[in-house]
Structure formats: C-alpha cells, structure tokens
C-alpha cells in the first residue's frame, strides 16, 4: 500500500500569515495529558510553585477539543493506543504530540513486553520526545521551550504529516489494534446490551474520569 511520503521541509512549513499566528500559538499551549504510565507524577511539580509551567502560558486542559498538546506520559499499551488515537483525532488542528519519557520513544523498560508498543511515532506523529526515565521537571520545561521555538518557527508540523501520510499511519495502527480484538470475536449484540446495562449501573464519572484529570 502506501509508504511514508518524502516531504521536503519547505512544502509543509507554515506561511507568513500563519507565522504571526504561530507567535500566539507558541505562547499559549494547553496540554491534555494522557496519563498512561508513571510519567504523570512529574507533571504536578512542573506545574506547581517550584517550577511553575504557567509562566510560559502552558496549562492543563480537560478535553481534547480544548487542548493543543497531547502529552503521552509513559508506556503505551496496545489497549491504550486505541484511546490515544481517538483522542488525537478529536483534537482540532494545529495540534502537537509530546512523547514523555523513554517508553514512547523505544519502549523503555517495557521494550519486550507483549502488551506495549515500542515506537509511538509509528502510530501518531510525535513532535517532541523527552528522554529519561522519568524526565525531571527541568527537562520537561526545557523540552517545552524547545517546542515553543519550533512552533513559532512553524516547524512543528506533525499534524500535517499525519494528514499527508494518513494511510501509512492507519495501516500501522490497524496492525496493533487487530491484536486488541477479543479472541472470540466481537461480542454478540445481546451481550453488548447486557454489558451496557452493567455499565449504566456504574456511575458515569467512573467511565469518563480516567483521562484529563486536573
């Protein structure tokens, strides 16, 4: 099928008018952190009084519609990948992804696990990776200032890559997502209903509260 397109930098870099807007975009970054792993624990110190991320206009947001940055903080299991993709696709453009810690880069200490994926950038375009297990707040802030510079110059264009190479990303995603299908096939219609009834009895907040905690 499709291969990763070779795109020159000049082709997708932002134009003049967009660069003016990029100035504003770079100084107001709202993040949605996808707390899949242990990385999230580094974020509170980054946001609170010691390091104070808000100095740079960076702040947490509750939902993908509002957020500019998707922060994948830790290992990505094959089951969470589906959620990450849905979340990423719900974000309006321009949007950026930050891989947080070693795990999204190469699998980290879970590199040989049956349940995780090793390279996040194969499934969604990662604009910035923060190495370390875990990266300290200093590193996080350093990374974010770097991202700000990239955005201002119009060079953080992961979302454009995703649009151009949609087929390639989708194929990679499908390969993993097929592994998450239940062995016995999808649930029958009646079963799904019964399951939904069980879910109804659980409070709605339980279902929706798993991501985007503030």
């Amino acid at each position: 099928m499709s291969e990763l397109l070779e795109i020159s930098r000049e082709e997708i870099i932002d134009g003049k008018w967009e660069r003016i807007l990029n100035f504003f975009r770079s100084r107001s970054l709202w993040m949605l952190y996808y707390c899949t792993g242990c990385g999230a624990v580094e974020l509170p110190p980054t946001m609170t009084s010691r390091f104070d991320m808000e100095r740079f206009g960076i702040g947490p947001m509750a939902t993908p519609r509002q957020a500019d940055i998707l922060l994948v903080t830790g290992y990505v299991s094959v089951k969470t990948l589906k959620r990450i993709i849905r979340t990423y696709e719900q974000m309006p453009e321009p949007k950026w992804v930050v891989g947080f810690g070693s795990c999204p880069i190469d699998g980290g200490i879970y590199w040989n696990s049956y349940a995780t994926i090793n390279h996040l950038e194969k499934y969604i375009p990662v604009d910035l990776s923060l190495g370390g297990c875990m990266p300290r707040p200093q590193a996080v802030i350093d990374g974010f200032t770097k991202l700000m510079k990239l955005i201002e110059k119009g060079e953080a264009v992961g979302y454009k890559k995703y649009r151009l190479n949609h087929d390639w990303y989708k194929r990679n995603q499908r390969e993993v997502l097929e592994r998450t299908e239940p062995v016995l096939g999808p649930p029958a219609k009646g079963q799904a209903r019964a399951f939904a009834r069980d879910v109804e009895s659980v409070e709605l907040s339980h279902i929706s509260g798993s991501g985007g905690e503030k």
């Binding site: 107001s28 009084s49 808000e54 206009g57 939902t63 309006p92 985007g212 905690e213």
Partner: protein, 294 residues
C-alpha cells in the same frame, strides 16, 4: 457615531475582562507561591483560540455560541461605566439582569447541541446554581428599590455621590456582603464552580468547545466579569467619577473573588445552592427588612 461608540464599548468590555482574567491568574499564582503567567496571557489565549480549527456538531452549536457572546455584549451596552453609556439609557438593572441569561441560554443551547452528556450535566448544575445566586441578588435589588425607589444604575450612582460614607457598601453592609457572595457564584469561581469542575465533568459546558468556540466562550466570560463586577460597583461602591477609578474598583472586587477562589475547595451544587440561599439570601433579606423599616 453611536455605532462606533457601541463597538468601542464592546471591545472595552472584552479587553477589561481579559485583563482582569490575566490579573486573576497572577493572583491565584501568587497565592500558590508561583510567578504566574504574564498579564496579557489571556489575550494571547483568545487569539490562539481563534487561530485554531474547530469542530462543530451541528449548526445549533454555532448559533448558540454566537448568541452566547451577543447576549452578554448586549447587556454590557446598558451598563454605565462611571456614568458613561454607549447608548442613551438609564442603566436599567432589570434589563441587564435579564439580558445576561440570553447569553447563558445561548451558551447552554450550543453546548447541548454538541451531544455530550457532560456538557448537559454542567449546564444543569449551572442553572441550579443560578437559582442560588439570582435570588439573593434580586433581594438586594429590592433593598435598593426600597430605599431609593429606583432601579436605574445611573440614578443609583448619583445617589451615592459624595464620598465613602455615601456608598451603599457602607450604608448597607449586610447587603454588600451578600453581593460579594453572590458575585463569587456569578463568576463561577470556587467554591461555586461545580458547573465547570474539570476533574469531575471535564469542564462541563466547555467540554466540546474547541478553537473559536472556546474563544467565544472566553470572551463571554470576560464580558461577564466586566458586567458583574461593574454591577456591584454601581450598586454598592458608588460608581465612579472617572472610568479609571471605575476599573480600579472593579479590579479590587475581582481580586477579592480570585483570592477566595484560590483558597477554597469546591461545593457540590446542592450544597452551594443551599449555602447561597441560607447565607447570601438571609443577609440580603436582613438588609431588605432594614431598608424597608428605615
């Protein structure tokens, strides 16, 4: 000329509101021993919001967002700023109090159309809370009518002229405290922010708003800040002789609100409503009784 004046007034309301929001964020940051964002952060945020693409679920959502800001802007046109009004009117308090809900209704309609249940839950909470704070606020209005026989803000300004002791805040202390509590709830700051509750219902009404929809919501909140603090300034702090003093008074009020916001936890919505009725309501009621008897 009138067109220019109204556009100018609308822009001023938004600009002042956004500036206050920025200052409020700094106040919160200082309370948490942080530096906080630059003071113009909220302007950047709004421009950024408008510079992003967005998703809409239905044209009702677009319509609702537009109606939301328009209602608040229309209300701002009737708010005297240090006696100055973009349009010739007496600053009718009831008109302002009833024009603002069209903004909130528009917002509610827009986010309902997004189909997210969290948005509907948030709006449901907001409306419940609204009953909580509007009733004390209305009682305050009645107290003013009892004493002065007018509900025009321009007239109220003139009646409070002549120094600190003529201010209604001094003459009606119970009412002023009730107004402050109601203001806290009107601005949806903690402890009355159950409708937004980011960790619980994912920022409630704003859950599906992105890009320019969020930008419009931001502007709506900024105008709401301008109007609501302005109302209290006009009603209790004697208005002002120059617009700068007016803004300073508004800012003082907003700083108080943000200071409380920084130190309180969140009430559940029925607790908040009950709190508003019992404390703000009874303070306002006491003030009304005093005013009627006087």
């Amino acid at each position: 000329m009138i067109v220019l004046q109204t556009i100018g007034a609308a822009a001023l309301a938004m600009a002042i509101g956004l500036l206050f929001m920025g200052i409020g964020r700094i106040v919160t940051a200082r309370l948490q021993r942080r530096v906080g964002p630059p003071v113009w952060q909220c302007y950047i945020d709004v421009v950024k919001c408008f510079s992003r693409k967005s998703t809409s679920h239905h044209f009702v959502m677009d319509l609702g967002s537009i109606m939301g800001l328009a209602g608040l802007v229309a209300a701002a046109m009737f708010m005297p700023v240090a006696g100055w009004l973009p349009l010739q009117s007496t600053g009718p308090l009831l008109v302002i109090l009833y024009l603002m809900p069209i903004g909130y209704l528009g917002m509610a309609m827009g986010v309902s159309a997004s189909g997210n249940p969290l948005a509907a839950i948030g709006i449901g909470r907001a409306l419940t809370m609204m009953v909580g704070y509007e009733v004390p606020f209305a009682i305050l209005l009645l107290g003013l009518v009892a004493t002065f026989g007018t509900s025009s803000l321009v007239a109220l300004n003139q009646l409070q002229a002549g120094g600190l002791l003529a201010w209604n805040a001094v003459r009606m202390p119970f009412g002023f405290v009730a107004a402050l509590i109601a203001l806290q709830a009107m601005l949806a700051e903690k402890p009355f922010d159950a409708m937004i509750a980011p960790a619980e219902i994912a920022s409630g009404p704003m859950v599906e708003l992105g890009g320019k929809f969020l930008g419009l919501a931001f502007l709506q909140h900024s105008v709401a800040i301008f109007i609501e603090t302005g109302l209290v300034v006009n009603m209790f702090l004697g208005g002002a002789t120059s617009i700068w003093i007016f803004f300073v008074k508004q800012l003082v009020l907003y700083t108080i609100v943000m200071a409380f916001n920084g130190i309180y936890a969140r009430y559940r919505v029925e607790q908040a409503t009950r709190f508003l009725w019992i404390f703000a309501g009874s303070l306002a009621f006491v003030q009304l009784v005093i005013n009627v008897l006087k």
